[in-house]
Amino acid sequence: MKRVFAFLVLAATVAAACGGTNTAGTTGSPSASAAPSASAAPTPKPMQVGLVTDVGGLNDKSFNQAANTGRLNAEKDFGLKTSVIESKKQEDYVPNLTTFAQQNYDLVIAVGFLMQNAAWKVAKQFPNVKFAIIDGAPANDAGNTENLPNVANLFFKEQEAGYLVGVIAATMAKNKVGKATHNTVCSMGGIPIPPVDRYMAGYQDAIKTISPTTTILIGYSNDFVDQQKGKEVGLNHISKNCDILFQVAGGSGLGYIAAAKEKGVYAIGVDVDQIDVAPGTVITSAIKRVDKAVYDTSKAIKDGTFKAGDNSFNATNDGVGYGKLDAVVPADAKAAADKALADIKSGTIKPKTDLTVKP
């Protein structure tokens, strides 16, 4: 009888593992490297790219999803062999990164600022494997960043994307467009970390610049996964007359959008185009092309142009931008956003990176 139970535990472990690796790439032929025949030209071994997601799952409609899209595109276009492992908790970061490094992957991508230290640890141990960190640089145990020769730091100018959606929100609040009648806009972050705060700093900067009379609220759900917490922050903001809600909290932010939908006000999505999350509620999204970062870095590995240290993705190289617009967004708001985009590219506008309104 005990044996039956042991089997049960085994089955559970296998199923859990399947949850993490079910999407292993199929493009590259795994046997390609084994004993090429003398007559034919040797088939080159496909490059291997491994992606380790942050917690929240592959279809978080946000960060992890964008990274995975970039991986799938790179696999399709460059004939790479790619795999993904989902982290279920923060303690998974190091083992997951190590799994790929041990198998001699050509590139291991860590998705997220929170993996800085884990990536530092593993990259030190495997100096011959190339790593990339989305939103971060390797950080030692004391928490200080330390550039490593085999790690690319993929940074985004989130403040530029935040500024663009801030322009749209400010224009709508100022002109009292549609349901935005209270001249109050707000935003919610997940955890106060630099990439999250940069988004909201740019957003606030645009609002202060374009519509100084508009009230700005800010909050945090203290979570990137929990939707109920995000929704409660949203309901709290809406009770304070906020009618445009910008979420910067991954999965938790979907709860913030759910609050806007329930109360019939507007929301702004983040990272990927979230207009389909709640049509009619989400008016646009602040886009950060995590997919492009993954895609470009995979391409660099293939072409041998991998660059360790800081790599910037910004408005100028189409690394950030704003998403599709809902029909309620007036033409002048779009025109203002497009002008701001041009000004950011030309360097006339430099969005702030520090929060003006703090919680």
């Binding site: 009888m1 005990k2 039956v4 139970f5 049960l8 535990v9 089955a11 559970a12 472990t13 199923a15 859990a16 593992a17 399947c18 949850g19 993490g20 079910n22 999407t23 917690v55 929240g56 799952g57 592959l58 279809n59 978080d60 409609k61 999803q65 995975n68 899209t69 989902e86 279920k88 106060p192 609220l217 800010i218 909050g219 945090y220 759900s221 203290n222 979570d223 996964v225 929990d226 939707q227 109920q228 917490k229 929704k231 409660e232 922050v233 309901l235 709290n236 009770s239 999965g251 979907l254 709860g255 759910a258 939908k261 389909d276 999350v277 709640a278 049509p279 703090k358 919680p359």
Partner: protein, 314 residues
């Protein structure tokens, strides 16, 4: 810091919403442990409830069917735990933990299989709110309980029913006897294993209802790991509530209040010092520790809690 931020109607309404899933998990814990089985798979039961509730709502467009499927999924997972814990007499913590891991892996795997890169659909059938017309107009009280979700009210009803069942009915007495002294219960003809099976299945149903509340009443979607440890917090609420339904509800309310405060107090200041957000997020846990240390006193589990029962002569 204002009274509005501390005990305003908005805070109290949020407290009820945040306490509901925890209270449902805690109720499940009370029933299972009163019968003598520790079920730490409550978290997993919530998660499968949340997920399969969304799948059923998507396929059938019926809230009633969705809730039924969610609760059935929770009961199936709890059933596996029951077989392991009661029939196979295995370590209940190990079995529960394994099932939690299974639930997390299974739901994220199936989520990706069913909904791919796009996530669950935006137009899911939702559990409706109950509007109590005469109350909704009353200031303050109307804002607190005038527009709560059906499952919030259902939870209150379940707490009362289960409290009465456990402490005022014969089957409830038998269930508690099985958890305190199974040998004595068996000698008077009570089926120990059968009682425990029913109790564990019921705990799965209740926890899964809590999970379905999160996905079908609050979020209107499913995301990986969305239960966020509420099953474990439910177990804490059960202990804090001394293994009684009403105690567990009170404990859940304390936890819900702490969480609600951690949002309403954002931006508040004491004197000239702003309260840091990170510190506020510890409030639910600090309040719980204070409550446990200060008011609960000694809390005693059922005497045979977690001990597998072996029938005489086997």
């Amino acid at each position: 810091m204002t009274w509005e931020q501390l005990i305003g109607a908005g805070v109290l309404a949020a407290m009820l919403r945040l306490a509901t899933p925890i209270a449902l998990a805690a109720l499940g814990g009370v029933i299972a442990e009163r019968s003598g089985v520790v079920n730490i798979a409550l978290e997993g039961c919530m998660l499968v409830g949340a997920f399969f509730g969304v799948v059923a709502a998507d396929r059938t467009h019926s809230v009633v069917l969705a809730l039924a499927v969610a609760m059935a999924a929770g009961a199936v997972l709890a059933g596996v735990h029951a077989v392991a814990a009661i029939h196979l007499r295995s370590d209940q913590i190990v079995s529960g933990m394994a099932l939690n891991i299974l639930a997390l892996g299974l739901t994220s795997f199936l989520d990706y299989q069913f909904y791919g890169n796009t996530g669950t659909p935006a137009d899911l059938a939702a559990v409706p709110d109950v509007e109590i017309a005469p109350l909704a107009a009353v200031p303050f009280i109307g804002d607190v309980i005038g527009h709560q979700n059906t499952i919030v009210w259902l939870t209150v009803v379940l707490v009362v029913l289960i409290q009465v069942f456990l402490f005022r009915t014969v089957p409830g007495l038998r269930l508690r006897a099985v958890g305190e002294h199974p040998r004595a219960a068996e000698t008077v003809g009570i089926g120990v294993r059968r009682t425990r099976y029913w109790a564990v299945l019921a705990s799965g149903l209740l926890a899964a209802l809590g999970g379905a509340y999160l996905s079908l009443s609050v979020a209107h979607s499913f995301t990986d790991g969305m239960t966020g440890g509420r099953g474990f917090i439910g177990l804490a609420a059960m202990i804090f509530g001394r293994w009684t339904p009403i105690g567990a509800l009170v404990a859940s309310l304390v936890f819900g209040y702490g969480t609600a405060l951690s949002f309403s107090l954002q931006g508040a200041s004491i004197g000239d010092v702003r309260v840091p957000v990170q510190l506020l997020s510890t409030l639910p846990y600090v309040l719980t520790i204070l409550a446990v240390a200060g008011f609960v006193g000694r809390s005693r589990p059922p005497a045979s809690d977690g001990i597998p029962y072996e029938t005489e002569g086997h």
